[in-house]
Symmetry: C2
């Protein structure tokens, strides 16, 4: 698979078949992840890869419980069931259905990867620069190998229990919960805002002339649905 194609077509995959992910594929994905850069090449990223052991089952169950709780709150708070959410064909309703399926079946995800970071500096936005590039490498490698995944923070409500279950040290943070598997069903293209809304030059808000999306690019507005229906948004998944 060609690099630029892979980067342009790697999207969140939340529905998986029951097929396991072979060890050789995991090896290739995690090797790619660990090649990522980090501040001063400190390599503070660590990956706990959970597949089909009893411990893996416990971790999936714990995070699944947290995911259902968090999604339930988000669904209400972000008004996924109001306005166009009542039309099951709307982007909003389809996003909600996809998330509902994902959290309900969380315990069955083929592979769960907890991306962790050994803290070596105070929490600030820069800390993530030493773990999220590795997560992105993992997701791109999964795509290249015919798998799909998604980065979430569904572990957020179960950190203490996961720390105990997996013996994660106190000076290590869980930065992401990534699930991976064989994609099931149909998935639409990557949808983002037009480049000229995201890429500037010389002055904030001013796009360079060359910031033109390739022909055929599909767009979406940003973020979860707004509570008013007048906003021109399509809350597609990432």
């Amino acid at each position: 698979m060609e690099v630029l194609d892979a980067l342009a077509t790697t999207r969140a995959i939340r529905r998986y078949t029951d097929d396991p992910v072979p060890p050789e594929a995991l090896r290739q994905m995690l090797f790619a992840a660990t090649r990522a850069p980090s501040g001063s090449n400190r390599q503070p990223f660590r990956f706990v890869v959970l597949t089909d052991s009893p411990v893996a089952a416990d971790a999936k169950r714990l995070i699944g419980e947290g995911a259902r709780h968090l999604w339930s709150a988000k669904r209400a708070g972000d008004a996924y069931d109001r306005g166009s959410g009542n039309d099951p064909t709307s982007p909003k309703a389809r996003m909600a259905a996809s998330m509902e399926h994902y959290v309900e079946h969380f315990a069955q995800v083929p592979v769960l990867v907890l991306a962790c970071i050994e803290r070596y500096r105070d929490h600030d936005v820069y800390l993530g620069a030493s773990v999220y590039p590795a997560c992105q490498n993992l997701l791109i490698a999964a795509r290249a190998l015919g798998f799909g995944g998604v980065l979430t923070i569904w572990h957020a409500m179960r950190i203490d229990e996961l720390r105990t279950l997996l013996s994660i040290p106190d000076d290590v943070d869980i930065a992401a919960t990534i699930t991976i598997g064989h994609p099931a069903g149909r998935h639409g293209p990557v949808r983002r805002r037009p480049m000229r809304e995201l890429v500037y030059t010389d002055r904030w808000g001013t796009a360079p002339e060359w910031a033109v999306d390739p022909e055929g690019t599909q767009f979406t507005a940003a973020g979860p649905p707004r509570t008013t229906e007048s906003a021109p948004r399509q809350p597609e998944a990432t």
Copy 2:
């Protein structure tokens, strides 16, 4: 270029030729960057791309000043000039020479990209999950197109001046300073710790059987040089 090869061979490039980066290449790199995932597909990432305008020259000068100051402090604090640093052929001394060249020539980097994030939540490690994957896409796309780059936080000492110069709003953070150009000179392979030190299963510190690096993989310990020379470290650049 094949995806897994690109992921395994994208390393920090800090020496560039004077050749400009064509707009079409910038378009492809920034398109790849903006395809990255973000929380709830909010797409809070913004990229300010600076090439050869007077504003770009001012930004490069400002960040270059900050870079020289920060590197000078780091060079002393991390003891780059002690122990094996006295041997110009040591990894430590070569890393120091590379950084010295980088910060001294910062004003001449062909392309400066400030990766920014519109804050929509409090600062925590998760915020980075919505901007650093996009930065990694940018660096991988650059590699695929024959360019090289590196992610830094050299802007950290000049944020207020950059905000004024580029009209960056108050609710936007600069998450990274990325420089890009045609690689100059020779660059070694990506060096990381062995996979089994970074990838675990079921229990922290226990590597899965499949966590085996491909034959020929080159390794390095993590982080800047230690102050004692007994530590088995090779402070190669990322």
